[in-house]
Subunit: 228 residues, 2 copies
């Protein structure tokens, strides 16, 4: 089938460029997280608070992808970290070459952590490696416990799952045990953090995890994976 | 660019098959709504309550698309309507040919309304016409007021925008005026309903709209649009 072949060619080209990014990141001792979720799960607020709390601990830069508007970039700049916006137009995911281009606008030599906020989409970005060390998938309590089972490719590829907006759990009748069981079925090795960027719950543990992950170094080629 | 051309070829093939569906629907006097949103915005519960309340008013059938699991199909069957599940695997949207195939499993001659619950994705399904009369986009109060601006292709194509989970508005500090202003900027003609499938708020108005829409008939070829 021609369409499938072309699709594979795009993916294979992206995979190569992602490895090139990975080598570039290793050379710069830059830890890179690719943050993914559906729209409205609270990625931007979560990442703003992540970067704000890392001030003085890890020098952090941010790349953010959106179809339109620079609302998220503006919000992220409040963290104090340098932010580069990628406007994708109608494209539903970020690709490795976009990251390579955006890197030129960041002071890479000075950074230790690069956070990439992907386009809000729980399907397509799963197929596109950006050269990251860690894939972080957000699941908001407002989305329901069943999402890991309904969107398996995204959760299977997660090294870390962040349950976000945990302050709304009661209002949403969210069952954390059920959610955890569903995450475990799809991503048995993923680290899970329950967080609220609003109240701060769980944010310290998550930031400490990032600091430790970075300090352990980037000895292994390729992603380090959820066994961390 | 080769990839773009192939993408256009897929879209153009889909557009033709969507018109074929549209003709088929007209012949059967079947009103068809394509329901779209991001993951976890409450589409399934909203549609279950929509179909349940239409019992005895409009003979309704449902087609539901999901990457994996038949959770949604099971939930929708509780409405009493016949439900056909399409499992898309890794595909991020429904296409017209999938609908044509699924129709064979529905008692089309007996139906007046066909509800299509698309894959949870606020980007890709916008590009794929299924032959529907109405596009309905859900925006959950938990997703935030800015989504129409951040995902313009989806909202621009909406005939109806459903603000869902309105019972959670206060807990989420959701500002309905701001949301409405954002919807109006992107989709000035769309009909907007504020609803809660949980409390029933706004559900009668939405169901009456569907009944009236159907009763006014399907005289015009193609979609009737948001001016209704």
């Amino acid at each position: 089938m021609r369409t499938v072949q072309v699709g594979q060619a795009i993916l294979s080209r992206n995979d190569k460029l992602a490895e090139r990014n990975r080598g570039f990141f290793q050379a710069h001792k830059l830890s890179v997280v690719n943050v993914l979720s559906g729209p409205g799960s609270g990625k931007t607020t979560f990442l703003r608070e992540t970067a704000r709390g890392l001030n003085g601990k890890l020098k952090t830069g941010i790349i953010v992808g959106d179809l339109a508007t620079d609302n998220d970039a503006q919000k992220l700049r409040a963290s104090g970290a340098p932010v580069v916006q990628i406007t994708t137009g109608t494209m539903c995911h970020l690709e490795a070459n976009m990251i390579a281009k955006a890197l030129k606008q960041l002071p890479v030599e000075e950074l230790q952590l690069l956070i990439i906020e992907n386009v809000g989409n729980l399907v397509c970005p799963a197929s596109f490696d950006l050269g990251e060390d860690l894939r972080v998938v957000l699941l908001s309590v407002t989305e329901g416990e069943d999402k890991p089972l309904k969107y398996p490719p995204m959760f299977q590829a997660a090294d870390v799952v962040i349950i976000s907006k945990i302050d709304l759990a009661e209002a949403c009748e969210f069952n954390p045990e059920q959610a955890l069981a569903n995450i475990r079925r799809v991503a048995p090795k993923a680290r899970v953090f329950e967080t609220s960027a609003k109240t701060g719950e769980g944010m310290d543990a998550w930031r400490e995890y990032l600091v430790e992950y970075h300090l352990r170094g980037k000895g292994d080629p390729g992603r380090s994976g959820g066994e961390v």
